[in-house]
Assembly symmetry: C2
Homo-oligomer: 417 residues x 2
């Protein structure tokens, strides 16, 4: 048991007891628990661990290489590099991604990348919760499509032995990379086995236009809906180019929509993310960073700030995206999408949390901790991170960092970029 004493929770002091993996008690008056390891948290605030809802974690080692390109040009280059990757690369690159996620307060991430079991292993060793995926991406090649179905079923069987330290989803890469046959198969497989379906949806204007040309004028959202695959089990990344009708569909089907602001800005995909409309229609809006090769980091705080700034700016209203909603998108909405009891500081939830050092200039003014954390500070004020009741970073130290960096340098060399 760990007792966090005198910590600021929503701007007033509390004591928080962590028992094994969970938050056992939250008290507004001092707790005294015999046998608990007591941590003095004066000068610290607590926030829930972030839930990064769209990531390609291992791509962290590909950033900075192909800058200043459009999505399709960039993907073309990246796919050539990816063909040379191996398990060893994925394992160490995912460790690097976990370093950066932990350092910026993320304790759960929804990943979509190759060699998923190796990414899973890396994240579990780092102590945070990975949601890994089998990815369908068959380019309408029937033989590849068949092989992917087999591989998917095989990987799923392996997951049956896996405990609750990781989750497993099915990914349909996108409307433009997966055959209709496999879209339907993947969705049936997901529903049959109670898995989430992770996909890219409506990321670019070109995707929208191409889909309409290929499918009788249907947008990607309308097309997926016509196949009957949209539902609360779907985690749709981007959902940026949406008509009113698309918003209505995503709301009605209670789809989880993941906004990735920096990737959208940097690849010039767009920025008019229809947050208010999606929320009001009934969709569950979450935040993600996308892979760091396009975003270019995995820092949820930075993505939160930019999400709020862009909502205010493009809607010409500085009152848009209030802080409480912004935090919910970055934490509990993701938890809800994944069906994991995290993203909140609440008795019974997983003890996934960050300690924020407020003894610095960023927290001098009488604004709320949340306001100053998102708008003024950076993630280096996050001093310690706990995931499922265990410290994964303490006073900015993450065990094993040097070994990870050394191995990362080695596997980057092996790619001959």
């Amino acid at each position: 048991m760990i007792l966090l004493k005198n910590i600021l929770l929503e701007d007033s002091p509390a004591d928080i007891l962590v028992d094994r993996q969970r938050i056992a008690r939250i008290n507004r008056t001092p707790l005294d628990i015999p046998g608990a390891e007591t941590v003095d948290c004066s000068g610290k605030a607590v926030i829930p661990g972030f839930v990064n809802m769209h990531n390609h974690a291992a791509m962290v080692l590909l950033r900075g290489i192909h800058e200043d390109m459009t999505l399709y040009d960039w993907l073309g280059n990246i796919w050539k590099i990816e063909a040379r990757m191996d398990k060893d690369f994925i394992y160490w690159a995912t460790k690097v991604a976990c370093l950066e996620m932990i350092r910026s307060g993320t304790t759960t991430f929804n990943d979509q990348y190759w060699y998923a079991p190796h990414a899973r292993q890396a994240a579990i060793e780092m102590g945070i919760h990975p949601v890994i995926s089998f990815i369908f991406l068959d380019s309408n090649n029937p033989e590849m499509a068949r092989r992917q179905r087999e591989a998917c079923a095989k990987l799923w069987e392996r997951t049956l032995d896996w405990g609750d330290e990781s989750s497993f989803t099915i990914s349909v890469h996108s409307v433009y990379t997966v055959s209709e046959e496999n879209i339907l198969w993947a969705n049936n497989f997901a529903l049959e086995h109670g898995l989430k379906l992770h996909l890219h949806l409506a990321e670019t204007m070109m995707e929208d236009a191409d889909c309409k040309r290929a499918h009788n004028g249907m947008s990607p959202t309308a097309y997926f809906d016509s196949l009957g695959i949209l539902g609360p089990h779907v985690i749709a990344a981007h959902t940026l180019w949406l008509s009113d009708e698309d918003v209505y569909i995503l709301g009605q089907r209670k789809v989880n929509c993941v906004h990735n602001i920096n990737s959208n800005l940097k690849l010039a995909s767009g920025f008019r993310f229809r947050y208010n409309e999606l929320r009001d229609a009934g969709a569950n809006v979450c935040l993600g960073t996308d892979g760091a090769a396009s975003s270019n980091n995995l820092d949820m705080l930075e993505h939160m700030k930019n999400t709020a700034l862009l909502q205010k700016a493009w809607r010409r209203n500085p009152a848009e995206m209030p802080l409480d909603e912004l935090f919910a998108c970055a934490t509990e909405h993701g938890a809800k999408a994944l069906g994991i009891n995290t993203g909140v500081i609440r008795e019974g939830a997983y003890a996934d949390l960050s300690l924020v050092d407020i003894n610095n200039s960023y927290f001098l003014s009488p604004g709320s901790v949340k306001a100053n954390l998102v708008y003024a500070a950076h993630s280096d004020v996050i001093s310690s991170v706990m995931a499922r009741g265990r410290w994964v970073m303490q006073n900015r130290i993450i065990p094993g960092e040097e070994e990870i960096l050394a191995n990362a340098r080695r596997v980057i060399k092996s790619l001959s970029l």
Copy 2:
């Protein structure tokens, strides 16, 4: 003399000799200088100190208080608080601002705020170069206008005893807050005494519309130009709402235009900053953070990233705002506007520079230091900062930080927010 050994300059190793205030030598092969204090900079890159070209530094203690408001509502609230400020507040608040600027690699800042001599004193003690200003803001009140002219002349006389550790400018707050009489007087005064003229220009759509109503359809740019005040001595903050004609004028007059992306986004003023057009027309584009009460920090790196992201996004072209131009806007363009030999790592220039720690995950990939610094890392990788040949931060330690925070807490209390 300080000899920086084996430091990465533009991605290849160099030795750099600092002699008194200046960069004396840059060598691509090892230097051996008897008597110089040698600093091993392996694992570090050097970048020029940033020049923050539009700031209201002491406002750093007002942030987080009035969130989510439009510019005019926000100004109304802020002005009420400002009426209660005193010299003591400005002095300590400016010290806090300097803490944050130093921590994020800024060595020169162009300030526009009250009690300027006290702001100057604070910055000089912190070791970075303040450009302070007398501010005209008379709300068309003739008596106030007269008093401001007197105060301006008086302050200028004091500056004659000041050395080159600070600079002095004249500020005309904006087209909507200063009488025509004083706009003309201030400009003449500036030209007569060889001073720069710092002003807010074309920040909001409302400013543009109001000005057109008040001045025979002239935009703020056209109006100022009709008064004959625009020239290379003018530092114009924001320049966001510009017609083609306005861009042409600013280019022809070689005005220094300062882009403040986060403030523009957060106050929902806009984001279509016409960088390419201004550059091509002949204007000198610089970057600033604006005051931290609206931006909400003084971190030039963050503002550089967001400047680039927004240029790419609103122009729908991921190749916009290449890194070299972005860096020039944040460094040497500001230096040029101010007429100070800084913002470059070059023999003869002031030794205003930052050491960047590249022994971390953000610099693993083979991208350039600049790419990974702007797009992946945050300013906490800036380990040491030198201003005019003296260390103002070493290994993230800034002397006197605790005392500054304690005094800042005291002066905030005195405002009774």
